[in-house]
Every structure is written in structure tokens, then in C-alpha cells.
């Protein structure tokens, strides 16, 4: 500011720095936009990265009326399992419960109660029917950060060895089950 850089070259370089930074950012924006037009870049799809990776490390306490589970339980799996993040205060979660209840006999579903008081989560599954083979409580939402969950409901299809094979950040629908989840789950069965 008041102390001037000594040499004129240094001064010039310093003054050109904002242009260089803005240029770099501009190129980045341009690549994002062209990616968006081509469909290869979607800033709204915040969850893709977990795909085809092992589930994150976590160990969660029991949530009544079920028993909790940890990363080790998922990694030890031989058959696919659906992991569903839910909360009693979430409206779309209510909407997907009938679908999950219909699905539970064809595919095991494990639930994680997200930022929910245990008694509220219990009340929720009692009211809406309990599709979950096991339920864990992520009371402070810390495991959810590692999973990349940004809101509820979110659902992951976990393949053998605890690899995340599929993911959605919207309520499960009949169409999803017939078109995506079941075909994928069947192909993952040993």
C-alpha cells in the first residue's frame, strides 16, 4: 500500500496478479458451464463421489426398536443392503415409508435416524411402519457428513464388501425400485 515494492518489474507483476487470478477463475467457470451444457458437470449433484467407494468409517448406537450397526457390519456383507437416512421431522421421509415397507421383503433395509431424538425416531417408525432390519441413530449428524448426506431422505445401495453402488437424495419411488434398485441389487447378489 504505502510501502512500494522497489523494482518496477515487481510492481507490474503485483498489479497484474488480480488479472491472472480473475482469468484463472474465469477459465474454471467456463469449463463448468461447458460441462453443464454437455451434461458432464452437475453442481447440483452433490453426492456422486461416494459412488463405488467403500462406506465411510462409522459406528452408530442402537436406535430403538432395532440394533445399530457400524462400517464393519456393512463391509462384512455378502448380499446387497439398502441404507436409508431418515428423520421424524422430514416430510418426504413419510412419503417414502409405504414404498420402503413394500420393499423390505425383497431387499434388507437398514435405517439411520438423522439428527433425531431417539424417542421421536421411535415414534416415527411406530406410526409409519418399520421397514428397517437394523436401525442406528446418528444423533449429531457426524456420520452423515462422512457419507456426504446433505438432507433427508437419502438412500444408498451397498453392495457386497460395503461398496456404495447407488445413491439418491430424493424419496424412493416405486419406479426407482423397479427400474434401478432391484435390477442393480439382483446383479450384485452372489
Amino acid at each position: 500500500m504505502s510501502g512500494q515494492p522497489s523494482s518496477p518489474t515487481r510492481r507490474r507483476l503485483l498489479m497484474a496478479a488480480p488479472l491472472v487470478v480473475a482469468g484463472g477463475v474465469g477459465v474454471g467457470f467456463w469449463r463448468m458451464l461447458s460441462g453443464m451444457t454437455r451434461g458432464s458437470f452437475d453442481p447440483h449433484d452433490i453426492h456422486a463421489p461416494a459412488l463405488n467407494r467403500p462406506v465411510p468409517d462409522f459406528a452408530l448406537p442402537d436406535q430403538a426398536p432395532g440394533t445399530g450397526f457400524s462400517a464393519a457390519d456393512l463391509r462384512g456383507l455378502k448380499a446387497p443392503v439398502l441404507v436409508n437416512y431418515f428423520a421424524s421431522w422430514c416430510i418426504p421421509c413419510v412419503a417414502e415409508m409405504p414404498v420402503l415397507n413394500a420393499l423390505k421383503d425383497r431387499l434388507p433395509i437398514w435405517g439411520i435416524a438423522y439428527k433425531d431424538k431417539p424417542e421421536h425416531a421411535l415414534g416415527f417408525v411406530q406410526r409409519a411402519g418399520n421397514p428397517y432390519a437394523r436401525i442406528a441413530s446418528d444423533h449429531d449428524g457426524l456420520a452423515a457428513i462422512d457419507w456426504g448426506v446433505s438432507g433427508v431422505p437419502e438412500t444408498f445401495l451397498i453392495g457386497p464388501g460395503g461398496i456404495i453402488r447407488w445413491h439418491t437424495a430424493s424419496p424412493i419411488t416405486e419406479a426407482m425400485i423397479t427400474n434401478t434398485i432391484m435390477p442393480l441389487a439382483d446383479s450384485l447378489k452372489p
Binding site: 488480480p18 488479472l19 458451464l33
Partner: protein, 659 residues
């Protein structure tokens, strides 16, 4: 007054803006008085054309002309008249036109009120504004034309997003945009100065009122936006660090830095290059923030028409405006001469510190906002950066900023000593220490306690500053009154703006102590929160002009005495299949009692309702403080030193500084 006239006026404005961008520049470089004289004429002409164009769009909305696509998509016969008008800027196309209109008004204002500027400088400033305006008008005409027709015209429109159907939001965009766009004027001054290769005290004096005016509008706009999210979204919060919110905060931070560094240019002819860069940066952030949100790159809860094709146009425009100005800066700034040396402990020194801290806060907010898309682009990793990051990075920078803010106005220019300044602030320091002790017992968490103490410090030191200047209680009150009358209004304005910051921070600290509960209750059931008993006494259906509603009655009692009766409701807008929650807020200015009606559970015979109950201490202070800040800015604008006495160049003008 028909859409074709509007479209024609827009095209005409675009042509005039193009002329305004080119001819005066040629005139200024050739010293051709006739070409330079075209600048104000074209700027005023463009302003009139755009106002006409905007009036045509409003007319189409009021008269339910659904052959205009924009009206069909965003309005409906049943919509209340007020929202037919405000709905014009509640969508992408209309808001771009509003943006362009405000920009043209800025150009017109420089033409009309800038008669005391040297003609070459005025011509260049208007030319730069014309160039930016031409770009936006072209954008409006080509990719987002608000006058596009649809055939056959529908009988009724689709109506407006009900969330936007709110008086707070209706007037929020024009105010916020005036803030954003207003920074185009300091930007144009910066570019003109770079072309001329000269920045001096007079330049600082011309720029500062424009920067302060834009800053006032932006402050007001941000306060309104946060107020809106507080009482419309029904989440009980006021600032979510959403990219759209950050897009307004970033230019506010650099704009605040600009307002302060321009003082140093004006009074001491130092920090010139830095001030020019801030002026360019502030407008660049205004532009890129608002428009990147529309391109869909930034992920936000605020739904705007996301269209990559528009994004490409905008990016091209940004490249021209920002890239061009930074290129000019890189070439010309090294030639600007620096002046005015000063000691680190001085008013300038503190203003430099203020700039460093404000720009650091800006840098972390920018990083947090841009990190997710760039991580996703570079490494294919998706992350979301949320409130914990922003709180953890901005608060530790804001606290020292507030501490220094208390000293700043008392410091003499050039070289100062700490001791006399500290001695004048002794009672402010005592009150702060007391606040620190009280807050520690009340709050127990370190950051709110520090925030409270620094806020009290800022408020007290602002009062101390004024009291000191008036020699209050050290001489007869009559003499103090005489001093008050001769004291420049800018001094009161600055003290007020600073105190406003303190009040906002107190509000934020108070909100950090807010209590809330989500309960599920039957009618007649009571719940306790923050020492009050909340009883749901009734839930009734109601019918509005374009919605049906369910209205709850909640009685809030403190020790059995009725404090207030709240009527939160849920509205169902059939034409949009959308439900909105209408929050009920009772305030006594020290705390808000805030109730939200949630979902209905159970069967109709025995229903239960989800209620969200909030007790928000000091919440109204945030918006009150914002208004006080903006008012402080306005007060300093009304200072006669700003209005009277056209600064003259070439000769050094002695500015009489009343200390």
C-alpha cells in the same frame, strides 16, 4: 404502452448505450468538447428509454396481458395488484431489466449531478457506465427478453412463486440491486482514472459519495433479505451462508473497505492504487455474484432460472468487464504515483488494518462459496461448505475488526499516540469489561461472549467519540450544543454507522442464545419454552384471495399472564400446488416470540399438529442495526461538505477538517 413499445425502447436504449460507451471516449482523448457533451445527453436519453421500457412491462403485468410470456409465467388474474407490480422483478427476465434500468439511472445521475466534474472525467465515467449498460441490455434483448410473446395467449397466468408474494421481498430486489449497481459508479470512476492515469484527493471526494450511497442501499438490501428469510422461510434463522446470501455479502465487505479507503485518498492522497482496485473489485463481485447464481453454477436454495446458455453470455460479459478492467489496471496502475506517508499508529494505519481485515473476511467467504464448485471441477470431489466453516473463519476476523473500529475515529491522521486515545475511551473500556463479565455468566460460550463485549465496545466508543468532540459534561451544555451544530454531519454519520454495526452484532450474539423446540401437540395441549408456556388453543381453516389456509391460535403465557396470542398459518396455493408457512412473530424489541405451524398428523377425529416454537433474544436488533448503519451512511451523505464546494483539480484543495 404496449410490449412492442417496451421492446423498442429497450433496443433504443441499447443503441444509445453503445453510442454512450464509444463517442465520449473518443471525445475525451481528442479533447473534442462536442463529442464529450454527447455523454450526458445520451446517458439521460438511455435512462428515459429504459424507464419507458420498464413501465411497459409493469403495464403489461397490471393489465393481465398474458400474451407476454413473462407475464403468463409469473402473474395471474387473481394476484393482488401490489404483487402484479412487484412480480415484474420477481423473475429472471424482469430482474435483468430492472438491473439495466437502475444502471441507466446511475448513468443519468452522473450526467445530471456530476456537472461539477471536469468534462473529460465525466465523459469517461459516463462512457464506462454506457459500456456496461450496453452489455446488459444486449443480454436482456437476446437471451432473456421480458417482452417475448406467446401465441395463443393463455386465459390466465401461472402465478407467482408464493414465497415471493410478500411485501418484504417485493421491495427487497430494487433496493439490493441499487446497491449492487450503484457500485458501478465508483467502478466507472476507477476506470476513468486509470485511463487518465491520475488519482488525486479530488477523485477521492467524487468517488466517496457514490460509494457511500451504494453501500447504504446494499446494507439496507442485505438487512431486508435476512429479515425476509427470518420471517418467511420459517426456519427461525436469519443468515444461512447460502451462496446467494454470500453473493451480496462479498461486495458489501469490499464496498465497506472501499468507503473507508476512499477517505484516505481524499484526506491524505495515500492508498490510491488499492482504492482503485477495491472499486473495480467491488463492482466485479456484484456482477459475478448475482449472475453466477443465475447461471446455475452455484448451488442454492434460491431458485433462479438456471440456464447454461445464459451463463455463457454472462461469462463473456464478465470476461469483458472484469477482465478488461483488470487488464487496464495491470497496465496503468504501476504508473500511478503514490503519496502521503504515514506512521503505523495513525488513522490511516487503522484504516489500512480495517481494509486488511475486511478483505480477509471477504476472502474466506469467497473461498467457502467457491470451494465446492471448484473442488468438483478439479478433483471430481463434491463437498458442501456450511455454517460451521463460515462461523469459524469469519468471527475470529470480525472480532479484532470491531476492536479496532472503536479506536479508528478518534485517531489523528498521519501520526498518533495510543495513550491519549485510550484515555478518552476509559469509560467505554469499563462498560465493555462489565459486559464481558455479565455475558460470561449469561452465555458460557466463548464466541458469543466476545461478540457481545466487542459490540458493546463499538457502541460505547462511538458514543465516546461524539461526546469527546462535543466536550460533553466538561463545559456548559449550551457550548456543547454549539459544537454539535458546527460538527460535520459526516462525523455523526460515521459514529451512527459504527454503532449500527455494534447493534447488529449484539443481535447476532443474542440469537446465538435462541431456544427452540419442535413439538407435536393436540389442541389444548401446553408446552414450555424459555420460561413461557405455549398453548395451542385452536386450528381453523381460512380463505385468502388466491389461497386457502389453516390458521392456528397459540397463547403464550409467562407465569400465567398472557404475553401474546400468535396466529401462525399454512397457506396452500392451488394454482402452484405449493404450501407456504406464515410465521407468527411477537416482538417486544428485546426478544421475538416466534411460532410456526407445521404438519397435521393423525386422523381428523383426533389430529395432532407439529409446532415449531422459537424464543429469539435480541433478534430485532439485527435489522434495526442494519437500518441504523444505512441511516448513518445517508446522514454522512447529507453533509454539506459533500454537496457544496465542487472539488477542483490541479490546485490542491484544502479540505477543512474539523477535528
Amino acid at each position: 404502452m404496449n410490449p412492442e413499445l417496451g421492446n423498442f425502447a429497450l433496443a433504443l436504449a441499447c443503441c444509445m448505450a453503445a453510442g454512450q460507451a464509444i463517442l465520449p471516449l473518443i471525445g475525451a482523448s481528442r479533447r473534442d468538447a462536442r463529442l464529450m457533451a454527447l455523454a450526458p445527453a445520451l446517458a439521460v436519453g438511455q435512462m428515459i428509454a429504459l424507464i419507458t421500457s420498464f413501465a411497459c412491462l409493469i403495464h403489461a403485468a397490471i393489465t393481465n396481458d398474458f400474451s407476454v410470456q413473462n407475464v403468463a409465467a409469473n402473474s395471474a388474474v387473481s394476484k393482488p395488484l401490489l404483487y402484479k407490480i412487484t412480480g415484474v422483478w420477481g423473475n429472471h427476465e424482469g430482474s435483468v431489466l430492472l438491473w439495466a434500468m437502475i444502471l441507466s439511472i446511475c448513468g443519468g445521475a452522473v450526467a445530471l449531478f456530476g456537472r461539477n466534474l471536469p468534462s473529460a472525467l465525466q465523459a469517461r465515467v459516463i462512457a464506462v457506465l454506457g459500456g456496461v449498460a450496453a452489455g446488459f441490455e444486449l443480454f436482456c434483448l437476446t437471451t432473456s427478453n421480458p417482452f417475448a410473446r406467446v401465441w395463443p395467449a393463455p386465459m390466465d397466468g401461472q402465478g407467482m412463486n408464493p414465497l415471493l408474494q410478500d411485501p418484504g421481498l417485493a421491495f427487497h430486489p430494487p433496493i439490493l440491486y441499487t446497491g449492487y449497481v450503484g457500485f458501478a459508479v465508483p467502478f466507472a470512476f476507477a476506470i476513468a482514472a486509470l485511463i487518465e492515469g491520475r488519482v488525486d484527493a479530488a477523485w477521492g471526494r467524487w468517488v466517496r459519495p457514490w460509494a457511500v450511497a451504494a453501500w447504504c442501499f446494499l446494507t439496507c438490501g442485505i438487512a431486508m433479505g435476512s429479515w425476509w428469510s427470518y420471517y418467511v422461510l420459517g426456519w427461525g434463522g436469519y443468515w444461512f451462508w447460502d451462496p446467494v446470501e454470500n453473493a451480496s455479502l462479498i461486495p458489501w465487505l469490499t464496498g465497506t473497505a472501499l468507503v473507508h479507503s476512499a477517505i484516505v485518498v481524499e484526506k491524505r492522497e495515500a492508498l490510491k492504487i488499492w482504492t482503485v482496485l477495491l472499486a473495480i473489485g467491488t463492482f466485479s463481485f456484484s456482477l459475478s455474484g448475482t449472475f453466477l447464481v443465475r447461471s446455475g453454477i452455484l448451488n442454492s436454495v434460491h431458485a433462479f432460472a438456471n440456464d447454461p446458455a445464459r451463463g455463457v453470455f454472462i461469462l463473456g460479459l464478465l470476461a469483458l468487464v472484469i477482465g478488461g478492467s483488470l487488464l487496464l489496471f495491470a497496465i496503468r496502475a504501476p504508473q500511478l504515483t503514490a503519496g502521503g506517508l504515514f506512521a503505523p499508529v495513525s488513522r490511516e494505519g487503522l484504516l489500512v488494518l480495517n481494509n486488511i481485515l475486511l478483505c480477509s473476511i471477504c476472502a474466506v467467504v469467497l473461498t467457502g462459496t467457491m470451494y465446492p464448485p471448484f473442488m468438483s471441477l478439479l478433483f471430481g470431489k463434491t463437498i458442501s461448505v456450511g455454517k460451521p466453516f463460515f462461523d469459524a473463519t469469519t468471527i475470529p476476523l470480525a472480532i479484532p475488526l470491531m476492536v479496532f473500529m472503536g479506536f479508528g475515529p478518534m485517531m489523528p491522521w498521519k501520526r498518533a499516540q495510543m495513550w491519549p486515545v485510550l484515555r478518552r475511551l476509559w469509560w467505554a473500556a469499563c462498560v465493555t469489561a462489565l459486559a464481558l463479565v455479565v455475558a460470561t455468566f449469561q452465555m458460557r460460550e466463548i464466541l458469543p461472549v466476545l461478540a457481545t463485549a466487542t459490540a458493546v465496545w463499538v457502541i460505547c466508543s462511538s458514543i465516546a467519540d461524539i461526546a469527546e468532540r462535543l466536550r460533553l459534561f466538561r463545559q456548559p451544555l449550551g457550548q456543547s450544543w454549539q459544537r454539535a451544530r458546527s460538527l460535520p454531519r459526516a462525523v455523526f454519520g460515521a459514529a451512527m454507522a459504527h454503532a449500527g454495526v455494534g447493534i447488529v452484532v449484539l443481535g447476532i450474539a443474542g440469537m446465538s442464545q435462541a431456544a427452540h423446540r419442535i413439538v407435536e401437540v393436540h389442541v389444548g395441549q401446553s408446552e414450555m419454552l424459555a420460561g413461557d408456556s405455549w398453548t395451542l388453543t385452536d386450528v381453523k381453516p381460512a380463505i385468502g384471495p388466491n389461497y386457502t389456509a389453516l390458521v392456528a391460535t397459540i397463547e403464550v403465557r409467562h407465569n400465567g399472564k398472557l404475553v401474546t396470542t400468535l396466529h401462525p398459518s399454512k397457506r396452500n396455493f392451488a394454482s402452484q400446488h405449493q404450501t407456504t408457512t406464515e410465521v407468527a412473530i411477537h416482538t417486544n424489541l428485546m426478544a421475538d416470540i416466534y411460532g410456526v405451524l407445521g404438519d397435521k398428523h393423525g386422523d381428523d377425529a383426533n389430529p395432532t399438529y407439529v409446532l415449531r416454537l422459537h424464543y429469539n433474544p435480541l433478534a430485532p436488533w439485527m435489522w434495526l442495526g442494519g437500518l441504523i448503519m444505512a441511516f448513518g451512511g445517508a446522514l454522512s451523505l447529507s453533509d454539506r461538505r459533500v454537496r457544496v464546494g465542487a472539488p477542483r483539480r490541479a490546485k490542491t484543495v484544502d479540505v477543512v477538517v474539523v477535528q
